[in-house]
């Protein structure tokens, strides 16, 4: 047994540091702790110090730490803190570029690059002539992070440097800045094995047929193929059709092109996968479909993967569906991509495969198959869909798919449903039947209204809009003892003629169940009537947020929302109601002061709605409140809206 408690003392030092109060008083202890032998303690100290104001004393202590030779941990920790301190640390760090110790000059270049301030550029340009190679490389990298005209020209100048490391740094910096140099300067670097990957990465950013042709030609050679992939990874937007055709031609004679592309599509490297998706879209090889879905990964390539898959057409969808266990095993993003492609490509030739997928034992794929079958437009899709009503999760998709197919194959769908409406009734069968056959479903719906199951009664009421005498069925629904049925009836009111709906709506608007009330409010604008406005105004003050929200919406939709109600809504306990009040009252000057106050609301969505209101209705006097709120806002979405509001109000 070889248990070793790592460092009991370190644990106590960690706990002591963790217990220090926030604020500048802790800074000396934290700086000291950057030299701690335990990396956990150093990391905690660095994290805490990054939150401390960069006073000259703290900065000078950190700079001094950079000079402690033999204490790599402390130096790295100090550098990391300085890089997070922003403008307050820049001048002191820039001074280090003149230090006699090359390590400190390199630290300075690294930190200045992280800080990203253009004021550091002249010092870094000078450092490109430093006597130490590491300092020169760090300066080039830093310039690539900062950017600007001077930095870009300096990096272009380095492309002719004798030191290959500097050339690579310059290429990488220019690629980062998306600032390709003139092609003649780049061309020789494409042939040098040392600079080739970086040069091709930059070549992809040159929007000219000559550049794309160079990259395409490089695909044909084993020695340059991997580098060429980087060019396609860095190009923006889809390639022109002729470039895709050239890629296809270039890769055709390559014996292992498909295997090479598959490996790139499934590699862990985001850049390789991105480039491979561009190429896969061009070569249109359905055998790569599953790998293309996998290429989505967890890092933001999903849209691109879908765009690459869809041009494969039916053959691509077939290849995905033929994937068997590999399809079943796709992780989340890849599943989302494959689903999207299959839905987009669904056609009659997929029916057999989709039917097989229904029975493959994977609920998510079965749902996808049911949805896709409805999009095939195929007569042969009707029978398998009609078998799905016994599965609670699939029944709703079967219903929608069959209704869609009934547009082309009404008799087939009707025949498939007919057998299912004879015995025990199922909600989605009822809905489908009524929607497909229309008026003749009346008798069945009447029968269903007496069913002992409330989900069947609710379905009958909802489906009543497809038959004659719907008002009678809806009325019966509104008198049902189950709120579920009354909700269905409230929803169904939307489809009734106004004259028949109005008396029923007034009944629904006094229901005792809040969920029914909310739905009745949502339907009210479909049947506007002055008599209902008073009740809606009452409901706008309802304690249930859902009812209040729906009533406010209904009044706004009818142009009958008085500012008093909006102001009253801001007293509601539900933050959703506040948010909605600001959204609906964006043109009311009376809400401006309330919105200014709401910029300090504890909920981000209320602050965001207040910011949006002030962006369109705020006055010059709102500007300070907005700026203050922006300063302290911690939520990204609210921050973005506050920023927009500040800009909008500042222009007034």
């Amino acid at each position: 047994m070889t248990w070793l408690v790592a460092d009991a003392d370190a644990e106590s030092r960690y706990r002591a540091l963790d217990a220090l109060p926030a604020g500048p008083a802790a800074a000396p202890r934290l700086v000291e702790a950057l030299g701690d032998p335990s990396w956990r303690v150093r990391r905690l100290a660095a994290n805490r110090l990054a939150q401390v104001e960069p006073t000259p004393l703290v900065v000078s202590q950190l700079v001094a730490l950079l000079g402690r030779r033999g204490e790599t941990g402390a130096r790295n920790a100090a550098a990391s803190v300085l890089a997070q301190m922003g403008e307050g640390a820049r001048a002191a760090v820039a001074g280090l570029l003149e230090h006699v110790d090359p390590d400190q000059r390199k630290f300075a270049a690294d930190i200045l690059g992280e800080l990203g301030k253009e004021e550091a550029v002249p010092g870094l340009v000078a450092a490109l002539d430093d006597g130490d190679g590491n300092v020169r490389a760090a300066a080039a990298e830093a310039l690539g992070r900062i950017g600007g005209g001077v930095a870009r020209r300096s990096l272009e100048g380095l492309l002719r440097a004798g030191d290959p490391l500097l050339r690579v740094c310059a290429l990488e910096g220019l690629a980062r800045l998306r600032a390709p140099p003139p092609l003649p300067a780049l061309a020789p670097l494409l042939d040098d094995p040392l600079t080739r990957p970086s040069a091709f990465r930059l070549l992809g950013q040159v929007a000219h047929p000559t550049a794309s042709r160079r990259a395409v030609l490089a695909l044909g050679k084993t020695t340059t193929r991997d580098a060429a992939l980087l060019a396609f990874a860095s190009c923006e937007g889809p390639l022109a059709g002729e470039v895709e055709a050239e890629i296809s031609v270039a890769l055709k004679p390559v014996a292992d092109a498909a295997r090479w592309l598959e490996a790139a599509l499934t590699s862990g490297d985001l850049e390789r996968r991105r480039g491979a998706l561009v190429l896969a879209r061009a070569v249109r090889n359905p055998s790569l479909a599953l790998a293309m879905a996998r290429a989505a990964g967890p890092d933001g390539l999903a849209e691109q993967a879908v765009e690459a898959l869809v041009p494969l057409g039916l053959a691509g969808a077939q290849a995905l569906l033929d994937g068997g266990p590999a399809l079943a095993d796709l992780p989340g993003e890849a599943r989302a991509v494959a689903s999207e492609a299959i839905l987009a490509l669904a056609g009659p030739s997929l029916v057999e495969r989709l039917t097989a997928l229904l029975g493959a034992g994977d609920q998510e794929w079965a749902e996808l198959a049911a949805r896709a079958l409805g999009r095939t437009g195929a007569r042969s899709a009707v029978a398998p869909l009609a078998q799905l009503f016994d599965d609670d999760a699939l029944a709703v998709h079967a219903y929608r798919a069959l209704v869609a197919l009934a547009g082309s194959w009404p008799r087939d769908v009707e025949a498939a449903l007919e057998g299912r409406v004879q015995g025990a009734l199922q909600p989605h069968v009822l809905r489908a039947w009524a929607e497909v056959v229309g008026a003749p479903a009346r008798a069945l719906l009447s029968r269903a209204l007496h069913d002992e199951r409330d989900d069947v009664r609710a379905a009958a009421v909802e489906a009543s809009v497809f038959v004659s005498e719907a008002p009678a069925l809806v009325r019966a629904g509104l008198m049902d003892e189950s709120p579920r049925v009354r909700r269905a009836a409230a929803r169904a009111l939307a489809a009734l003629p106004t004259a028949e709906a109005l008396p029923l709506l007034s009944h629904a608007l006094v229901d005792l169940d809040a969920t029914v009330l909310a739905l009745a409010c949502q339907v009210a604008p479909r049947h506007p009537h002055p008599d209902a406005l008073g009740r809606l105004a009452e409901l706008a003050r309802h304690a249930d947020a859902s009812v209040a929200l729906s009533a406010l919406d209904a009044l706004a939709a009818q142009g009958a929302l008085p500012v008093e109600l909006l102001l009253r809504a801001l007293e509601h306990p539900g933050p959703e109601v506040h948010r909605r009040a600001f959204e609906l009252g964006a043109d009311r000057l009376e809400l401006v002061p309330r919105a200014q106050v709401a910029l300090a609301h504890p909920r981000w969505e209320v602050r965001a709605a207040a910011a949006r209101l002030l962006a369109v209705s705020g006055t010059a006097s709102s500007l300070e409140a907005l700026k203050d709120a922006l300063e302290r806002e911690g939520d990204d979405v609210a921050r973005e809206l506050l920023g927009q509001a500040v800009q909008a109000v500042a222009k007034r």
């Binding site: 956990r40 993003e333 991509v337 869609a404």
Partner: protein, 282 residues
């Protein structure tokens, strides 16, 4: 409601944030910005099924409809990643076998009972892997072995109880392990052999549900690998506290390689093993 051929609803940043708030409150799961694509696609069938036009309506449904709580569970189930596989992070498993287990055995010798918890076990690969490491271990012959796998996804647990797995779940399984621990099925799928299923039991558990977690017994070892990364910092702290409370004194917590307790807890001792680092309740 969106019909066939209508464009798929797009999730705005604000809608994502509103939904994320609900998910986070329910189970601590953070729906990050970069998951928007997956969220749009995986929730689209739910919008279709519920007849909702957009994600704002979906949010309102989750908040206010009587079916909202059930639907919230469905949504979270669709969005929380379930990807895992057998014998994941073999170096850590080696360290567990060689260094953690002997210590745990020594402590448990009086009762001859060993309890392990795989927290956030998803579709069951991890608890079965642990059973595969324990069952044939000579020093544990005749012991009562209890491996609990918990997850908040009913669907994942249904899969786990079925104990049938495809090639992706078996990608790190050696041919020897495959032959010893699995029965072949059709289509490249395999089923965990009965003797490795026997010590494993599963349970539905939301790690931030303190009342439910209070029902758990004490464990000798807790595995919680690649789960904390999906939680916000506050939830992580609460969950780590729960692990501390549920560990027997001297018991160990094993996290994924990309995870640590930095800024989360100082109550654990860090123990440096030959091949790994674990956290021990003093």
């Amino acid at each position: 409601m969106p019909g066939f051929g209508e464009p798929r609803p797009v999730m705005s940043r604000e809608e994502r944030h509103l939904l994320a708030d609900l998910f986070e409150k329910a189970c601590g799961f953070v729906l990050r910005d970069d998951l928007t694509f997956v969220a749009e696609r995986r929730l689209a069938p739910r919008l279709e099924a519920l007849g909702l036009r957009d994600f704002a309506a979906y949010h309102r449904f989750l908040r206010f409809d009587p079916r909202g709580p059930d639907e919230l569970e469905t949504a979270i189930d669709l969005l929380v990643p379930h990807e895992t596989y057998f014998f994941r992070e073999p170096q850590q498993l080696d360290a567990f076998e060689a260094e953690v287990l002997p210590e745990a055995e020594a402590r448990a010798r009086p009762t001859r009972r060993l309890a392990l918890w795989s927290a956030g076990c998803s579709t069951g690969e991890e608890p079965y892997t642990l059973a595969m490491l324990l069952v044939d271990r000579p020093s544990l012959a005749g012991w009562e072995l209890d491996v609990l796998g918990t997850d908040l996804s009913k669907k994942a647990l249904t899969h786990a109880r079925r104990a049938e797995f495809g090639p992706t779940a078996l990608r790190a399984t050696t041919p020897e392990q495959l032959a010893r621990c699995f029965e072949p099925l059709t289509g490249g799928r395999h089923r965990v052999k009965g003797r490795f299923r026997a010590p494993v039991r599963f349970g539905l558990l939301n790690l931030i549900d303190e009342r439910a977690a209070a029902l758990l017994p004490r464990f000798d070892v807790i595995f919680c690998r690649n789960v904390l990364i999906y939680f916000d910092p506050l939830t992580r702290r609460r969950v780590v506290e729960l692990f501390y409370e549920r560990l027997s004194p001297g018991g160990c917590l094993l996290l994924g390689h990309s995870e640590n307790l930095l800024s989360l807890s100082t109550r654990f001792e860090i123990v440096q093993l030959k091949g790994d680092l674990v956290y021990r309740r003093p």
